[in-house]
């Protein structure tokens, strides 16, 4: 049996949790160590580390340990693709509203026909 989850599914699951959304928002402003990420959150460090594991598994965040400090940063392409399909829906309506504009110009009953030169 296939145990594959589409990348967007993982990203959405990761973002469905409010704590993880807070962490991702913080990282969108710049990289942070795990303890910096944990500071504003009202939970144990191990709970934070668990949330981080979900974010890394989803591809939204990656981290690197140098010495004793683990630094996390956002993966911009992954987050972008999670928003992409909503912006596609918006873009599709934008195109239609543009075509509405063209239709209204074409069907304007007050438009004078072009004058033909004799």
């Amino acid at each position: 049996m296939l145990n594959y989850q589409a990348p967007l599914d993982l990203a959405f699951q990761a973002l469905a949790d409010p704590t993880r959304r807070i962490m991702v928002e913080r990282l969108s402003r710049g990289p942070a160590s795990v303890s910096e990420l944990a500071r504003p959150l009202d939970m144990t460090l191990s709970a934070v580390v668990q949330h981080l594991a979900v974010l890394e598994a989803s591809g939204l965040v990656r981290s690197q340990k140098v010495g004793r400090v683990r630094t996390c940063r956002i993966e911009p392409t992954a987050l972008h693709s999670a928003e992409r399909w909503i912006s596609e829906r918006r873009a599709s309506w934008e195109r239609r509203l543009d075509r509405l504009g063209a239709f209204l110009v074409e069907t304007d009953p007050t438009a004078k026909p072009p004058r033909r030169k004799k």
Binding site: Q5, A6, P7, L8, D9, L10, F12, Q13, L15, A16, S81, A82, W85, I86, E88, R89, R90, S92, W93, E94, R95, R96, L97, D98, R99, L100, G101, A102, F103, L104, V105, T107, D108
Partner: protein, 156 residues
């Protein structure tokens, strides 16, 4: 196994058209007029289109690339104020899969020179929409890139 997800989003689009609110509203309320501009992909054949423009009425539209995915649009009109406002709810299916449910508000405001149209969509996006749509989009992007490369080669 389908992974269940929901993602909520709201977006607003505005346009100003050089036409009266009555004309712009008519482009939404009249089936013939609507079909002249409202199809997402005008090049796709339309296999079904039901249009009942009244409160409680529905719209049902089935299109898609020939031999490809069926795109199904189903709407119910909730609130209609002539020349001023339309509120409808719609869902989208790709083949059998429901990918979104949305509440859409369209308002028509008279302004100098015509009509300001304000389009607001509040939607919930469901369950791995990327599988089918992402492939189509990916293919389209791929073809665009190929096209660009070929043009560059020809220009060189």
């Amino acid at each position: 196994m389908t992974v269940r997800n929901t993602r909520h989003a709201t977006f607003t689009i505005e346009r100003v058209y050089p036409a009266t609110p009555a004309r712009v509203f008519a482009a939404w309320s009249n089936k013939e007029a609507k079909t002249a501009w409202a199809y997402c992909h005008p090049e796709w054949p339309v296999s079904e289109h039901v249009f009942e423009f009244r409160e409680g009425g529905r719209e049902h539209l089935v299109t898609g690339p020939a031999g490809g995915t069926r795109h199904v649009f189903d709407a119910v009109f909730h609130d209609i104020v002539a020349d001023q406002r339309i509120v409808f709810a719609y869902d989208m299916h790709l083949d059998e899969r429901r990918i979104s449910v949305s509440l859409t508000t369209i308002e028509f405001f008279a302004v100098a020179g015509g009509t300001r149209l304000v389009f607001t969509e509040q939607g919930v996006f469901l369950d791995g929409y990327d599988d089918i749509a992402g492939r189509e989009e990916g293919t389209r992007i791929g073809l665009d890139n190929l096209d660009r490369q070929l043009r560059q080669q020809r220009a060189a």
